[in-house]
């Protein structure tokens, strides 16, 4: 629980989840609702909304969790242009010139969600330098992007 709240805080967002509705399976966290909870017994494999997993003391969020953070109005966000969208999904970092909008804090070292022009959350990154169009070079380092689903599909096939 603390793990997830701490993660959200890196985006300057507050995410309060009800402790009794977060269920854990090995190193993976899930959020269920009151209706679903009675159907979750010890040997479940997946339940409700997948929130993310902890590996070697590091938290890896699900894309649904990123979406939940994005819906919190104040989370740090950058919006990138159409040309950069697919590059980001392929794992590339974001150059200053590709950023069309910055919301929330843009402090070096903070985390920021990466959005497209439709306000869809494509993943997140770490701010290397003040993200703005004027800054040359990489402004946001890609940490995780939805292209991961394709990489998982390839690995799994």
């Amino acid at each position: 629980m603390k793990t997830i709240a701490d993660f959200a805080r890196q985006f300057d967002a507050k995410l309060m989840l009800r402790r009794d509705l977060v269920v854990k399976k090995n190193n993976r966290y899930f959020l269920v609702d009151e209706k679903l909870k009675p159907f979750v017994s010890n040997n479940f494999y997946f339940a409700g909304t997948y929130l993310g997993k902890v590996k070697k003391n590091k938290f890896f969020p699900s894309f649904e969790l990123l979406r939940m953070i994005a819906e919190k109005g104040k989370a740090n966000k950058i919006t990138i242009n159409d040309r950069t969208e697919w590059l980001f999904i392929c794992g590339r970092d974001v150059f200053g010139k590709s950023i069309v909008k910055v919301e929330g804090s843009a402090k070096k070292g903070a985390h920021t969600l990466v959005m497209n022009r439709y306000s869809d959350c494509l993943g997140f990154g770490k701010i290397l330098r003040e993200p703005s169009r004027e800054v040359a070079g990489v402004a946001v380092k890609n940490v995780s992007d939805i292209g991961d689903f394709l990489r998982r599909e390839r690995k799994n096939s």
């Binding site: 209706k35 479940f44 494999y45 339940a47 697919w86 939805i146 998982r152």
Partner: protein
């Protein structure tokens, strides 16, 4: 008893000869993640994916032209649509009143129909999704995450043990393991024999029998296969009507009436309420909807 000639001869005896089989790729738009259908279609067209509405499906589209793979777009990764064979979109659409129900998806991986169920339920109620194969659960979980499904609990479990969950289900989807069909598998004739079709049919009957026990009295079961073989389709439905407390419901969907005479054997007349889809633009498919029969 196997081989191309053997099977084609059987199909001919059932009244069908293969001709003009050209499978088309299809997608299903997930309204939960893409509430504006037209906008989603336009978004995809602007990326070079041309879509054509499938007349017999509510949310289904043929991919008529594609400059890039339909499985590698931002919209796909955001769960706005799934790549789902057209005929395979039919079974879930046959349920009534899914919202808020406790639903069993007994053979769920890789989850195309689980996502469709969650969509029609607007993520309300509960879906219990089972699959016996652990390795297939990874794909199922990825599918649920990509499509933002929130109302599903997945167990690795043999559907024949469903009673152990102690749940009575309002709706049960039996998209049972089957022999598949040659239209979607070029090595099908070389791999299949009547013996393994009969073995699959027996497993399907066991799953049906156990599911019927876990069905509420006012519940519905949809049974589906992508097999062309009557042993796995009409003959199993006939067996269910005669041996389980189930009756076949009338359905309105794409496909031909179920066959009521198979190689000289007469089946229960209600079997014609099923739908059989011979391969053409879609792969081969079979669907049947059951309801519990009132106690005598």
């Amino acid at each position: 008893m196997s081989g191309k000639e053997f099977f084609l001869h059987r199909y001919e005896k059932l009244g069908w000869k293969p001709s003009d089989i050209k499978l088309k790729q299809a997608i299903r738009i997930n309204p939960t993640n893409a509430p504006n259908l037209e906008e989603t279609v336009e978004r995809l067209q602007s990326r070079g994916i041309k879509l054509e509405k499938i007349s017999f499906l509510e949310k289904g589209y043929w991919v008529s032209k594609a400059k890039l793979s339909a499985g590698a777009t931002t919209e796909y990764l955001l769960g706005m649509y799934s790549i789902q064979e057209a005929a395979a979109q039919i079974p879930v659409s046959l349920f009534t009143d899914l919202e808020g129900k406790v639903v069993l998806d007994a053979c769920a991986a890789p989850g195309g129909k689980t996502v469709q169920l969650a969509d029609l339920m607007h993520n309300s109620g509960v879906i219990i999704a089972l699959d016996v194969e652990k390795s297939k659960l990874i794909a199922l979980a990825n599918h649920l995450e990509r499509c933002h499904v929130k109302n599903t609990v997945v167990y690795q479990m043999d559907a024949r043990h469903v009673a152990e969950l102690g749940i009575k289900f309002g709706r049960i989807l039996l998209d049972v393991p089957c022999s598949g069909n040659f239209a979607a598998d070029s090595s099908w004739f070389a791999r299949r024999s009547l013996k393994d079709i009969e073995a699959n049919a027996a497993l399907q009957r066991e799953i049906l029998a156990k599911a019927a026990v876990s069905l509420r009295d006012d519940g519905e079961i949809v049974y589906a296969t992508c097999s062309l073989e009557p042993e796995e389709n009409e003959m199993n439905v006939d067996w269910a009507v005669r041996n389980l407390r189930l009756q076949v419901e009338e359905i309105e969907c794409y496909g031909e009436k179920g066959l009521t005479e198979i190689f000289g054997q007469k089946l229960h007349r209600s079997v014609e309420n099923c739908r059989r889809i011979w391969p053409g633009q879609t792969q081969g498919f079979f669907v049947c909807k059951f309801r519990k029969r009132d106690e005598p």
